[in-house]
């Protein structure tokens, strides 16, 4: 598991307050209970805070799965560092 994926998993567990969440690159919103459109925004905001990045409005809606999310975060942290 990549560092980014494990940190994303931590944020998910924290936001949903559930230690049992396991994320794979193929995981989608369908697979996680309570991951609805409102929680999606809360997740994005918490991810921004955890990684010290900022998503653009064009980026938040189109993500297909966790793999794409991780890639997006990696692209932003790579620029940042």
């Amino acid at each position: 598991m990549s560092d980014t994926l494990s940190k994303v998993t931590e944020v998910f567990c924290d936001v949903f307050d559930d230690d049992e969440i396991e994320l794979e690159p193929e995981t989608t919103a369908e697979d996680v209970d309570a991951w609805d459109s409102l929680m999606h925004v809360t997740l994005m905001l918490n991810l921004e805070k955890a990684f010290g990045i900022r998503f653009a409005s064009s980026e938040v809606a189109g993500l297909k799965n966790i793999g794409e999310l991780v890639a997006l975060i990696d692209s932003k942290t790579a620029v940042a560092s």
């Binding site: 924290d14 307050d17 459109s37 409102l38 925004v41 809360t42 994005m44 905001l45 409005s57």
Partner: protein, 636 residues
Amino acid sequence: MTTLNAQQNQDTERFDEITVFNHSRKLRKENKHDEALSTLRNAMRRHWLSAEGIEKAGRQIIKHFKTHQVKTQNVLVLGQCTTNWLCNCLTASAYAGGISVMATEGQYDNVMQELMAAASGDVKYDAVVLLPWNTRLLAEGDRDAKQRIDDEITFWQQAWNFVTGQLNTRLIQIGYDYKSPGYQGHHLGGQPGGHINLVRQVNEALRANLPEMSFFVDIDQISGMLGRENFYDARRYYWTKQPFSEVGTARLSEHVFAAYRTMVNGPKKVLVLDLDNTVWGGVVGETGPLGIGIGDSPDGEAHRALQRYAKSLQNKGILLAVCSKNNDADAREPFEKNPDMILKLEDFAAFEASWDPKAVAIQRIAQTLRLGLDSFVFLDDNPVEREHVRQMLPDVEVVEVGEDASEYVHALEHGLWFESMNVTKADAQRVEQYRAEAQRREVQSSFTSMDDYLESLKMSADARLINEEDFARVIQLLGKTNQFNLTTRRHSPQVVQQMLADSNNMGITLRVADRFGDHGLVAVLLAVLKDHPLGTPGSTGKAFEIDTWLMSCRVIGRTVEEFCYNTLLNAAKNRNADYVIGTYIPTAKNVLVKDLYDRLGFTPINTAEDGTVTYELNVHEAEERKTFLAKVDADA
């Protein structure tokens, strides 16, 4: 006492948000749900959580309320924008403030439909919060300013009628705001026809048209205090139709909660002040009364500003008290000798300067003033004292301040504890009354018998039918009296009006005065005439049922209870009633009057599962009871 002393050494360690949530989650896994929630509450009260953390805490609290079917107060939030996060933050703010409130939202921009649904639903709402957004107000089109304002007010008036009518509950109306001046810019935007100008005008119109006894939350002021650039987050509106940033949402929720708390409980009643490095700079025991920091220095000016602020609160009817670790004589000297002091000894309703732990001293103040600790706010520069009071007296609101005295006034304002609906004359007189009460207590100690003492007070009582003048005050008392309140029924103005429309029913206010001063309006009695369904088996007849009996705690034990009893009994006789029926509904706060009816010779006839006790008094057998209050005028 030993345990309190031991607490003096506790650390004031600060925990970060992650630690707080991990700890809370761990407790929950061990099935320690209440402790898990206390962890969150403690963290919020100490300002350890970020705005995101507060929202998350709110989500967990709501989840807990739902899964454990906790009995909460209920607030319905309806907005012209998404209100999900506001509800979470509002629930969290209320929980931090010691009240279990579950805030639920309606569907986005569906205000009227949701109100109708609520009217036919099972949940009884304790308040409805209405949150406008400016989309319709500022929409394209050629309506002029007047038309736009009329359209908004007409819309909300329909909603208000529903809230105060069918739903019969409290109304909290949030105002309109703007994220930025828009294309017109700062100069034109503020002129007639400009967006900012339109927002300000519609807010004025809302204020002017709101039903009485509702609360206006001025979001234009609130966002201005934080700064609109921080209060709003443009992205959030496009993502979720919710314009506020996380910080903005949390801040707005604090104001909505303050509005709710003010409507339900009234403002906090007592501000307890430390002296050294709080009311003045430095330590008086070391510098003497003239050496303290209160004059023309930056630090001295800051302390003067605090004194001026406290003095204004006192003028508004908030009681001031001193709680200082000092020799009593040293603590009093600056008030007497330093000409730069704004506060004087007579501004304080209680003065506790000793070496006792502060929790003990504050409890003594509460006893002296006969007020619950949940109406206290405590300001102290010393973090150890603050933590000590937080732990020992969790009901007291402790102001979180830094070391710089220039922050004190802001910290007090920020807590919103002294927000009030409107200042009544009674509020301003209260200070005078409490001071007289302190003198009375001194007189009391020089008498040998209680009867002699009561006689010496030369008390008089004036019972009147509730009139228009007193009506607002009566509603205020129904809304906030907790301790001496037999049924704690928080009637709306409409309910009381309906009750009093029938002259067989009775609504009485009681004013008491004595040789030390006027206590003002101290008791409210509401009673309704009914057919007697409960009486002794086989008995028939009419019953005069006490719907509400509430009294100010300041006059307890002075035979005002007996005076009320006589008033009720005589009113029952005048109405040819056979019984007086009394009800005691237990709450967390009214144990004080648990056996009032027993003491007055009523007979318990029924105890319900929830502890509600119904009493009856046979009018034909009962006699007037002895009281030391002379009747001024009774039109009952």
